[in-house]
């Protein structure tokens, strides 16, 4: 295999780890707020848009040339003007979204553990770490994702197992058909989170060729299942109504866990581990933005050069990291406004850019794809 390429499993790990950050930001309270008691069933209706997007992405991926990502495909298909504007728009959105994740991750850490600390410090340290990873090789980032996935999913499993004694299945019951029907609006935040996986299509050039078009389905199914498990476990601890009112119900649930008198609290460790998800998502968004801009400016592949080198357009990575850090200051907002951005505007932006954008692209390029297919 090409040394620059990463395996499908590593790529799936990077997506899973990255998406755990928005998953726990939106779930369970946003889903419960929309779906009430039926929130834990929301993954079922969310399957439809998520798998449709996966099919669209797979359909587009088939037309990518070896080593080419979504940025290259857009540049090739949309012509000299739109082929530059559209990837640049995506890059701008990734940097803006990265700034939001940086700030919201810092806010979560500060409000749940370090009450009197400033968020700027955490944002600065995280972006410095993300830049380090982005300047390095993609394979190193992917291997880190594999380790982080094991750590994060392990932490999640430990938290859920240790919370079982506080769970009460009666809080999810009695369950009526009306409750089941109410699960549909709860699918919106879940689908929005899983849609973020579409950003990673800009990194497709680094991933080994999949055997079939369903290779990402497993990642989506895992994330949706995690969403359902998180909703069900938190709701069975707090009940649907209290879950919708609490700020970070999952992390409040962790606060109640203790391992006897020896380890009375574990939340600081778990919440700190969760910074890994923010770190991976911001690092990947930086890289996605770079991959979107590379064909726009006709830059070479940044891999393989020393970390401190600015050649081959690598200075752009520094500028992008600076832009993410600057964007994080746009979100220096009161907590209620940040929550509004988190619950409404950011998911809406993601849905427009990822679901809307890629569906439009897919529809607009039907003739082109038919032509390419008949040629081949």
């Amino acid at each position: 295999m090409d040394e620059k390429r990463i395996t499908r499993k590593q790529f799936a790990a990077a997506i899973t780890v990255s998406l755990l950050s928005p998953l726990l930001r939106l779930l369970p309270q946003t889903a419960v707020g929309l779906a009430g008691k039926g929130a834990w069933l929301s993954p079922l209706p969310a399957l439809i848009p998520v798998l449709l997007l996966a099919l669209i992405l797979e359909s587009l991926r088939r037309h990518m040339r070896p080593g080419e990502g979504m940025g290259g495909l857009l540049r090739r298909w949309l012509g000299p003007v739109m082929g530059r504007v559209v990837p640049a728009l995506y890059a701008a959105w990734f940097l803006f979204y990265g700034g939001f994740i940086l700030r919201s991750g810092a806010e979560r850490l500060v409000s749940t553990v370090y009450a009197s600390s400033g968020q700027g410090l955490f944002a600065a340290v995280t972006i410095a770490l993300c830049l380090t990873v982005t300047l390095g090789q993609m394979r190193a980032a992917a291997r880190t994702a594999v380790i982080l996935r094991a750590v994060l999913l392990g932490a999640l499993a430990v938290v859920i197992v240790l919370s079982v004694s506080n769970m009460d299945a009666d809080r999810l019951a009695p369950f009526s058909w009306q409750d089941a029907a109410s699960a549909v609006p709860g699918a919106l935040p879940l689908a929005s989170v899983c849609g973020v996986a579409a950003c990673f299509s800009f990194l497709s050039g680094y991933v080994e060729k999949p055997k079939n078009g369903r290779w990402l389905w497993g990642t989506h199914l895992l994330l949706l299942a995690l969403g359902g498990v998180i909703c069900a476990s938190v709701m069975s601890v707090f009940g649907p109504a209290l879950t919708a009112r609490l700020t970070y119900p999952f992390f409040i649930m962790i606060r109640s866990i203790s391992l006897g008198d020896m380890v009375p609290r574990i939340e600081a460790v778990v919440i700190a581990v969760w910074v890994g998800a923010d770190f991976m998502l911001v690092a990947m968004l930086l890289r996605c933005a770079h991959e979107a801009l590379r064909p726009v400016f006709g830059l070479p592949d940044p891999e393989g050069l020393p970390m401190g080198s600015l050649r081959g357009g690598r200075f752009l990575l520094w500028l992008e990291a600076g832009a993410v850090f600057a964007c994080s200051f746009l979100f220096d907002l009161p907590p209620w406004q940040l929550k509004l951005w988190s619950d409404r505007y950011i998911p809406l932006g993601n849905d427009i850019m990822l679901y809307g954008g890629f569906t439009l692209l897919w529809l607009a390029t039907i003739p082109k794809r038919k032509k390419e297919k008949s040629k081949s």
Binding site: A115, L129, T132, P174, F238, G239, S256
Partner: protein, 369 residues
């Protein structure tokens, strides 16, 4: 060399995020200066909130640090308490018991829930008790040299576990209130420790259980009578260990369960609620003469428990406060759950409730002699 430098760079960044020592985080805690607060009491006095805290006995039996401050709100009170102890940093991550005075339980519960939600230290699973009277009295006045309120409450918790009383946590109360139901909270009161010999300097009050307080979104609804509290305990499923005297026989409730079902017409309209309780007791003491027959004792036990349960149910209907989880239970077999859920608040106070109790007395082999 490059890898070593990279490793050092990552370590330096990670160290900045740690919570102690050379961390750049401004709220790092020096472990030696932390004073762990273990019991917290809240009272409402007109426009002011009174917060009383106790640190619990030190590892070498140093006396507990007990303080009380009056302020406009919870955070304000915390800041004042910190001023009273400048040499230590008061640390609330290990609070085990939250005591709410009568007026505070009535007016401040919502603020307390919001505050714990936002607090990075306090736990939702803190045991919560309502004090008949003032929480300050319980925290401050109940302290003596050899023990303190935390020890007393820990002892009460052990006692409650063996005698069947349930101590609910703030989470359980908040969850019930958020669903629009009522919640039960163990009530305590301070009482002179008459049974124990003290010197005058050591004399202090004891904290003893005083039935249950009923809370709902309106605040403190009422304190249940001892009999209604026992009925509530039977209905909420944790009566084991309770002592009951029937026909001169002292018995221990070994276990019991309550089955609540809705009664519906053929058209699905709610007609009432059926409550069926099963209790099993073991005889501990019997009168030397004229001991009742086992059958008579079974019947008397059933009557007694039925009276408790009926009193608890009557309180719930009278107060329009479903603190016994009847709505949840009735919904389980409701033909139209949505309709019943929406109409419950209106229907509940007038729904006829049928109570049947099946009491069985064990260890009664010597009664038949």
């Amino acid at each position: 060399m490059r890898r070593l430098l990279l490793l050092l760079y990552v370590w330096a960044l990670a160290l900045c995020l740690s919570g102690c020592g050379m961390s750049l985080a401004s709220d790092r805690h020096d472990a030696e200066k932390l004073l762990l607060i273990q019991t917290m009491g809240l009272d409402r006095e007109d426009e002011h909130l009174v917060m009383s805290v106790s640190s619990g006995l030190g590892p070498d039996k140093e006396p507990a640090l007990v303080m009380s401050a009056e302020a406009g709100g919870i955070e304000d009170a915390i800041a004042r308490l910190q001023n009273y102890s400048p040499e230590n940093q008061l640390f609330y991550a290990h609070v085990q018991y939250l005591l709410l005075g009568e007026r505070s339980a009535d007016q401040d519960l919502d603020s307390v829930i919001q505050w714990v939600d936002r607090s990075p230290t306090l736990r939702m699973d803190t045991d919560m008790l309502v004090v008949k009277g003032s929480a300050r009295d319980a925290v401050v006045d109940a302290s003596e040299q050899a023990t303190d309120i935390t020890q007393r409450l820990a002892s009460l918790e052990r006692q409650a576990r063996s005698t069947g009383w349930t101590i609910n946590t703030l989470r359980q109360v908040a969850a019930a209130l958020a669903e629009g139901d009522g919640a039960l909270c163990l009530a305590v009161q301070t009482a002179p420790s008459e049974g124990r010999v003290f010197t005058d300097e050591q004399r202090s009050d004891a904290v003893v259980p005083a039935g249950y307080a009923v809370l709902d979104q309106r605040g403190l609804v009422r304190f249940l009578s001892p009999e209604a509290s026992l009925g509530a305990e039977v209905l909420t499923g944790g009566p084991s260990g309770l002592l009951v005297t029937v026909d001169g026989c002292t018995m221990e409730l070994l276990d019991g369960e309550a089955e609540v079902t809705g009664r519906f017409s053929d058209g699905g309209a709610p007609e009432g609620i059926n409550v069926r309780c099963t209790v099993r007791t073991g005889v501990l003491e019997k009168p030397l003469r004229d001991a009742p027959s086992p059958e008579a004792l079974d019947a008397a036990l059933s009557d007694t428990v039925r009276s408790w349960v009926s009193q608890a149910l009557a309180c719930a209907q009278e107060d329009r406060c479903d603190f016994l989880g009847l709505r949840q239970a009735a919904l389980k077999n409701a033909p139209d759950k949505e309709a019943l859920d929406q109409a419950w608040r209106e229907l509940f106070p007038s729904l006829p409730i049928t109570v049947t109790v099946d009491g069985r007395v064990d260890r009664s082999y010597d009664l038949a002699e």
